[in-house]
């Protein structure tokens, strides 16, 4: 029996109060096994990002219980959440958000330093893992979008988190580039047994997941296991 990476019960998130209140997430019960590659699908505004942010301790639930990597997140204060993020999760966003004045290596190293590891070996290894070792000393402006996103992934996984959270990581990329990025993520999932929670609009991407969760209006409307995940380089869209 695998341990649980994520355990949510009655999880809810309401933005605002009174007449303008928006229920972004309603009564979500969810368990995700450690090492699973989970894709979150759903139309715009369905609550995908909200769920991801709750799991990543970027956001705080307004209802329910949430446990990630064995740590209770509901009720954690801001400092506790910072410590949790530092130790347990890595993020990949649609925008790469690399620091333009730092090289690829330095961008990665910054995080390893911040999380109290010394660094440059781990950073190099992370770049190696995403296939960007040969571009380590290039500045972001000299990299393509896909390359920048791979550096961003290296940045997220350099500290060896148990959980990788990716919100539309290919949203700003073309097909071919997107494939390579997804390939990197799925390899990290397999080789490091890292749990991956990936948000996308694109149903095709779901084919590479172990499990697909569909959201609508803040609720889980479907939750299916995928017996034969497809390799990233064979995705077509």
């Amino acid at each position: 029996m695998n341990e649980m990476a994520v355990r949510a019960e009655g999880l809810g998130r309401t933005y605002g109060t009174g007449a303008v209140a928006v229920d972004a997430l309603v009564e979500v019960d969810l368990e995700i096994e450690s090492g699973q590659f989970v894709v979150l699908l759903g139309p715009s505004g369905s609550g995908k990002t909200t769920l991801l942010n709750l799991v990543g301790a970027i956001d705080v639930p307004t209802a329910g219980h949430l446990e990630v990597d064995g740590i209770r997140l509901d009720g954690l204060d801001s400092e506790g959440r910072t410590r949790f993020r530092r130790e347990h999760v890595g993020f990949v966003f649609q925008f790469f958000n690399l620091i333009p004045t730092l090289t690829a290596l330095e961008n990665v190293q910054l995080i390893t330093e911040l999380t109290g590891r010394d660094g440059s070996d781990q950073a190099r290894a992370a770049l190696e893992a995403v296939g960007m070792a040969d571009r380590a000393d290039h500045f972001p402006a000299a990299l393509s979008g896909g390359e920048q996103q791979r550096v961003a992934i290296a940045r997220a996984v350099a500290k060896r988190p148990r959980l990788l959270l990716a919100d539309e990581p290919t949203g700003a990329l073309d097909l071919e580039t997107g494939r390579r990025v997804l390939d990197v993520i799925s390899r990290l999932n397999r080789e490091r047994a890292m749990t991956v929670l990936l948000v996308t609009h694109n149903a095709v991407i779901a084919e590479m997941a172990d499990r697909v969760i569909r959201l609508r209006d803040g609720r889980i409307v479907a939750d299916t296991l995928n017996p034969n995940p497809v390799a990233a380089d064979r995705l077509e869209w």
């Binding site: 910072t82 958000n97 620091i99 190293q109 911040l114």
Partner: protein, 778 residues
């Protein structure tokens, strides 16, 4: 956090032009602080050392009665009390004449000793030996062995200069408190054996000079001894703080003290604002990055200190060399200054705390400037990482457009909306203009004020061209009237007096003029003209200093003769130089006949077409005349120095322009950086760089022009406050700024502002659209 440091360094290097501007501004501010504060310290130390060496008195009692010195010497607070005499008499040196002063130095004097710089001290028993004061010697090229003639009632008497000396009392050659700004070729001092001076007759004033014991409570002991001396019949007393030379020098020293405050405030203020603008922009541009770092586990504290470090680092980079340069410059200033006014002793006091404070200013200033942006960065949520680079500011219909009669053109609307889109930035641009205006107007206002005051004193109030001193009190003045080029002659009496009202005393000069004199106009603060009557007209400061009003009776004690009389105050005059007293000569003659005849001189006005030097020579050749003193020489001297003053304004103009530059340049580049995507898009759509530059120029100029009026108001009040700190009974420093000065100052700063934005605008041309798109945030 090595990589964070790398990020900081590279971020700063990316904005190096703006950062350099800030660093240089901090450097200049800290340097000027260090220089003026250490110069202030060194000057104070130089004077203190000199004063100790020569036993500079703590208290003077003039017209002291016999025996007072013994009473004072016996007082437990007194270290020494000595008698010495002074007499003001005409000197003849070659064919030049002046009214000088002979100061007696008793044998074995311990108080107010003369420091001999060249030659030797006189033989105390010799009647014809003197030591010439250094300022007199310099003005008349006197050397040891030269002869000077001193006027006596029986004619010119030659004495030999055996030495050149300096005294703490005449370090700055002031004639009296009321005549602080005597010119060295119009007033000078000879030091002679005291018995010789004492024998000079009724004009000789008997002083007791007092030095306190060390460690006694200065203020209370001085006022107790002064009261004691006055009760014993002394004519007047003054303390070291009030002593003319010292008072004059203190005004200067105080000026350095003031500058050491004003400079850092202005410069660090500008640098801080520049940093604030730059960093605020940086935080906004990096919000997605900050969000990502926060998501990855960077704590709020780490974010806060990272951005605080930009300010602190920049501040230190400017402040550390600034503090070092300031210490060096202070040495140069101290030497140059003491050299320029011939203080024989220069003590350079390098206070270790001054550079430490300078560095601290940079550090604290940098931290303050970075505080708000760092707080803002700290408050950003990790979720910011999910937003792309957000556009800054909102477009909206502005108040200006709503109140504008009629419709603005599209271009005008764009300008107005952009100017108001980021109020923070527009405020910084405006403050740059305000700071620049302030620095320029404070210095220019000082010169305008001096010129206006000189004009009031020497053109509107004083109507005579020369004051004539006689060898013996003259019978009648008709001989002077007959001299070619003389338009008018009037008798005048000038004497030191003490004015006593209740328990308050004020030492000043009493003038006796003809009742309907044409040599002096008595102007009140509201420019009404008063006439001499039976009462006393006095300077308006006495209203507060003595607590008297028109109609109150005061007691006047005449210094040299000791004559005392009561007289009512008839009115207050407002005069820039000094706070003096005036009465009808005939009335004075009736109640104090001795001084009226002893101190009798003449005022002469020249015909406007006459050559002043020729008339002066003719007057001096008239029998009985000892010296002819031009009364407007001070004004002429000031005119001569105007070039220097304007050079000073020029420097301040450069510094003021630099202040404006730092902020306008920064805000312009930041403005463009914030709109990089917008500008790149417009460029891509075919709007030319020149068109874009014009839009932004108009926008900046709009903000700068709008800031000019409030800026001038602020600058005016700062200048007025600065000026008021120099205001005293001896100098009326009321700020006067000529209308044209406002205009030129505003124009100069606006031109500086206009020029300052040019380098920023160049980025439009060099904007790399490809890179903008790739990095998304710049």
């Amino acid at each position: 956090m090595r990589v964070l440091t790398v990020k900081l360094r590279r971020d700063l290097r990316r904005s190096r032009a703006q950062v350099l501007g800030i660093v240089v501004t901090v450097f200049v501010g800290v340097m000027l602080f260090g220089a003026s504060y250490d110069a202030y310290q060194s000057l104070t130390a130089s004077y203190e050392t000199m004063f100790d060496r020569v036993g500079f008195a703590d208290l003077w009692v003039t017209a002291a009665p016999e025996g007072l010195e013994a009473t004072l010497a016996a007082d437990p607070a007194v270290e020494a009390a000595e008698v010495r005499h002074t007499v003001d008499v005409p000197f003849r040196i070659g064919d030049r004449r002046l009214v000088g002063r002979v100061v007696g130095v008793p044998e074995g004097a311990t108080v107010n000793q003369v420091m001999v710089l060249d030659g030797a001290m006189f033989d105390p028993s010799a009647a014809d030996q003197v030591v010439a004061d250094q300022h007199l010697a310099r003005a008349f090229q006197l050397e040891v062995g030269d002869t000077v003639e001193v006027a006596t009632p029986v004619g010119w008497r030659p004495v030999t200069v055996v030495g050149i000396g300096a005294s703490a009392e005449y370090l700055w050659p002031s004639k009296s408190r009321q005549e602080l700004l005597a010119l060295p070729d119009q007033f000078g001092v000879l030091y002679a054996p005291d018995p010789v001076v004492a024998a000079a007759g009724p004009a000789a004033v008997r002083d007791v000079v007092v030095r306190l014991r060390e460690g006694v409570e200065q203020d209370s002991e001085l006022s107790r001894l002064a009261t004691l001396a006055m009760a014993a019949g002394g004519g007047d007393t003054y303390t070291r703080d009030e002593q003319p030379s010292n008072a004059a020098l203190q005004e200067d020293v105080q000026g350095f003290g003031q500058m050491s405050f004003l400079f850092p405030v202005l410069f660090l203020g500008a640098a801080g604002l520049g940093m604030w603008v730059l960093l605020t922009r940086m935080v906004v541009a990096q919000r997605a990055v900050i969000g990502t770092l926060r998501a990855e586990g960077m704590s709020r504290r780490q974010v806060f200190f990272h951005y605080l470090a930009y300010g602190v680092g920049t501040g230190l980079v400017g402040a550390i060399p600034g503090a070092a340069a300031g210490a060096g410059l202070a040495l140069v200033i101290a030497h140059a200054y003491t050299g320029a006014i011939y203080v024989p002793i220069t003590v350079v006091r390098v206070t270790p705390s001054t550079p430490v404070f300078g560095v601290l200013f940079g550090l604290v200033g940098g931290a303050l400037a970075a505080w708000a942006p760092a707080r803002r960065a700290m408050a950003l949520e990790p979720a910011e990482a999910m937003h792309g680079p957000a556009p800054t500011g909102r477009g909206k219909v502005t108040l200006v457009e709503r109140v504008w009669p009629g419709r603005l053109t599209a271009e005008a609307r764009l300008v107005v909306r952009n100017a108001l889109r980021n109020p923070r930035r527009s405020i910084a641009t405006g403050l740059g203009v305000v700071l620049g205006l302030t620095l320029v107007l404070v210095s220019w206002g000082m010169i305008d004020t001096v010129q206006v005051l000189l004009d009031r004193q020497f053109r509107q109030i004083q109507q005579a061209d020369a004051q004539v001193a006689f060898l013996a009190p003259p019978g009648d003045l008709s001989a002077l009237g007959r001299v070619d080029g003389v338009a008018a002659v009037e008798p005048v009496v000038q004497t030191p007096v003490s004015i006593v009202a209740g328990d308050r005393t004020y030492g000043t000069i009493l003038w006796g003029f003809d009742r309907d004199t044409t040599m002096h106009r008595f102007l009140t603060a509201s420019d009404d003209e008063l006439r001499l009557g039976d009462g006393l007209l006095v300077g308006v400061d006495l209203h507060d200093l003595l607590g008297v009003d028109v109609g109150d009776t005061v007691t006047v004690r005449v210094g040299p003769t000791g004559e005392t009389f009561d007289v009512p105050i008839a009115g207050f005059v407002d005069e820039p130089l000094g706070t003096q007293a005036y009465m009808d000569l005939a009335v004075l003659d009736g109640i104090a006949p001795q001084v009226a005849s002893l101190a009798r001189q003449a005022m002469v006005r020249y015909r406007s077409d006459a050559d002043p030097d020729a008339v002066r020579r003719s007057l001096e050749a008239t029998p009985g005349v000892a010296a002819v003193v031009p009364t407007r020489a001070l004004e002429a001297a000031a005119d001569e120095y105007m070039g220097l003053f304007y050079a000073f304004v020029g420097i301040m103009l450069v510094l003021g322009a630099a202040l404006a530059f730092v902020l306008v340049f920064n805000t312009t580049t930041v403005n463009l950086a914030e709109r990089t995507v917008e500008v790149a898009t417009m460029k891509a759509e075919g709007v030319s760089a020149a068109q874009l530059a014009r839009l932004i120029t108009v926008e900046n100029l709009t903000v700068m022009v709008a800031a000019t009026l409030p800026g001038l108001v602020v600058a005016y009040y700062v200048a007025a406050g600065f000026m008021a700190s120099f205001d005293s009974d001896l100098f009326t420093f009321t700020l006067h700024i000529r209308p044209l000065t406002f205009l030129w100052t505003a124009l100069a700063v606006l031109v500086a502002g206009f020029v300052s934005q040019r380098p920023g605008l160049r980025t439009i041309r060099s904007l790399d659209v490809a890179r903008v798109v790739r990095e998304r945030s710049v």
